[in-house]
């Protein structure tokens, strides 16, 4: 079961949180911020947050491009399309379904991201959360060590999703994630 944790953060004299149902970015009074934050977060999330703050603690990206795992290509694409449709309806439902329909692991996150990155451009457009949810449902490494973050480039209203797994950000093509302040964490791990 996937669980989400609200990290709500004070930045540029305002409080910022992600609404757990709509997934939209909210600006709140800093005095009220505590009431929006999860009381406890799992250790795996706090460790991943340290990596977000200090990206040089992560493993450097590999130079050699990964071959996509063609064996499971259709499963990955099916999941990706499924989450694309659900996300259009509701953010909360897409996270809920990702938790409920987690399938047997078919490979590490790096390979699944690589497969998704080989999809046509128009499919991938603006689909960072869908990519991450797809990985979260099919990846062995995510289930073991992964945290999916949703964050915002503050004070802009621009949002992004990415994954941190132990010492790695497994999406080779994502250079954007460092611009986003993590505001929500989603993981299989409990406090």
């Amino acid at each position: 079961m996937l669980r989400s944790y609200s990290l709500g953060r004070c930045y540029l004299e305002s409080g910022w949180v992600i609404h757990p149902l709509s997934g939209s970015l909210l600006k709140v009074d800093t005095a009220d911020l505590v009431s929006f934050q999860s009381k406890k977060i799992p250790k795996i999330v706090s460790n991943a947050l340290i990596k977000c703050e200090n990206p040089f603690l992560l493993k450097p990206p590999s130079d050699s491009p990964l071959e996509s795992s063609f064996v499971h290509s259709s499963t990955i694409k099916r999941n990706f399309n499924f989450f694309s449709s659900i996300k259009k309806i509701n953010f909360y439902l897409s996270v809920l379904f990702a938790g409920l329909f987690s399938i047997k692991s078919i490979g590490p996150s790096r390979e699944i991201f690589s497969e998704i990155n080989s999809f046509e451009e128009d499919l991938k457009f603006n689909a960072c959360l869908v990519k991450c949810l797809t990985v979260a449902t099919c990846s062995s490494s995510f289930k073991k060590n992964g945290v999916l973050f949703i964050g915002a480039h503050l004070p802009l209203q621009d949002m992004h999703a990415w994954i941190i797994e132990e010492n790695e950000q497994p999406d080779q093509f994502d250079r954007e994630w460092i611009n986003y302040v993590p505001l929500m964490a989603i993981t299989y791990h409990k406090t």
Binding site: P61, H153, L154, D158, R175, N179
Partner: protein
């Protein structure tokens, strides 16, 4: 006939009178400026070029002639005299670059500073200068924004190795700051919208008697674009890789030269030759590997790059009133509808909603209004 500019700054040639003219506010205020002038500025901005063979004159008959260049004129047609073709058939390597820079080091007299941005390009220049034992001072804008944490880390890491480092807080020199005091300039250029950070740097340079400030301006194209075997493409052309505006209008006035290191033909040739047949390389993997000896691990092994979008948005938001005043004054002078304040306000709204077309239109039109404002004030 030949039109030659052997100076180190842009000169302005009157095609009708066939002489160079000295641009002055008074002369400029008398030129006819209409919607065609703005349209030609938009065309030039789309082409990203100030080469006289492709530049469309914004002011009738006045043509910018880039520094250190010579042009042949046949009627209305201009062609570059002895255009350097950068063939990549010779085998040149990093040792040739270092050897050449070592020679150059012995010729340069006067204090040298290098910009320290925390990014790869300036780090390469700083690393090689340090390797060659060149005594340099460092200057750079530093940001406390979340997204700039990796740049900041690298800036502080590099700074540890130098005695003389000056950081300009980003919040004190945002884009679009102090536009009312933009220096007079002969032709519109979007760099005028970012003049303030250059002004702060130039003041520092003057105070510290710095003769040269080296920047990594043209590296983006040189280290990213695909290099063909015989690279004659204009994308690696010196003029296209350079933006003379900051040097011509800000640094020169403070007795400092703002130097784009790759405007040196031989440096450019060596790097292009080294990159021969390399594909497009958006993350500059090739450069990170080749120059790994000269740069911190954080730049050779990682490829983080912060976005300037929030910095840009803050600059726009903080300076909206001044921007509107500039547009108002320019509009009252030339009555060009496209720079009317209410139209510009609409473009700002588009910009705030991340519309890229609005961004280009806004920057181009505002740089035009700012140009008019600079000679009216």
């Amino acid at each position: 006939m030949l039109i030659k500019n052997s100076s180190y700054h842009t000169k302005y040639y009157d095609l009708k009178k066939k002489v160079y003219i000295n641009p002055t506010k008074e002369r400029w205020a008398n030129f006819k400026i209409d919607s065609t002038s703005l349209d030609t500025h938009i065309t030039n901005s789309q082409a990203y070029s100030q080469r006289p063979d492709s530049y469309v004159n914004v002011i009738d008959n006045i043509l910018p002639i880039p520094a250190r260049s010579t042009w042949k004129r046949h009627g209305d047609l201009l062609t570059e005299f002895e255009q350097k073709i950068l063939g990549t058939s010779n085998s040149l390597g990093i040792e040739d670059l270092i050897r050449y820079l070592n020679k150059l080091k012995n010729i340069i007299s006067g204090r040298v500073a290098v910009e320290l941005s925390g990014g790869l390009d300036t780090a390469i220049i700083i690393g090689i200068a340090k390797h060659l034992g060149v005594k340099i001072k460092l200057i750079g804008g530093i940001s406390d924004r979340y997204e700039f944490r990796t740049e900041r880390f690298v800036q502080e890491l590099i700074a540890k190795d130098f005695d003389d480092v000056t950081f300009i807080p980003e919040s004190s020199a945002l884009p679009f700051s102090n536009l009312s005091n933009t220096p007079f300039h002969a032709i519109p250029n979007k760099s005028s919208l970012f003049h303030y950070v250059h002004s702060v740097t130039a003041d520092w340079a003057q105070e510290n008697e710095i003769k040269y400030i080296l920047n990594g301006m043209g590296f983006d194209s040189l280290l990213i674009d695909k290099v063909q075997k015989k690279s004659t493409r204009l994308i690696f052309d010196k003029i296209n890789l350079d933006d003379p505006w900051p040097n011509d209008y800000v640094f020169k006035q403070k007795s400092t030269s703002y130097i784009n290191i790759i405007s040196n033909n031989y440096i450019r040739k060596i790097i292009i030759t080294m990159r021969a047949l390399e594909p497009n390389d958006n993350q500059k993997k090739w450069a990170r590997k080749i120059f790994s000896e000269y740069i911190p691990n954080e730049l050779s092994k990682y490829r983080y790059k912060a976005s300037f979008a929030a910095n840009y948005a803050e600059g726009l938001s903080n300076n909206k009133d001044e921007i509107m005043e500039i547009c108002d004054r320019a509009f009252n002078h030339c009555k060009i509808a496209k720079i009317e304040p209410k139209i510009m306000k609409k473009l700002i709204k588009g910009l705030e909603e991340f519309d890229q077309k609005s961004e280009f239109e806004f920057i181009t039109r505002l740089s035009f209004a700012n140009w008019i404002h600079a000679f009216l004030k």
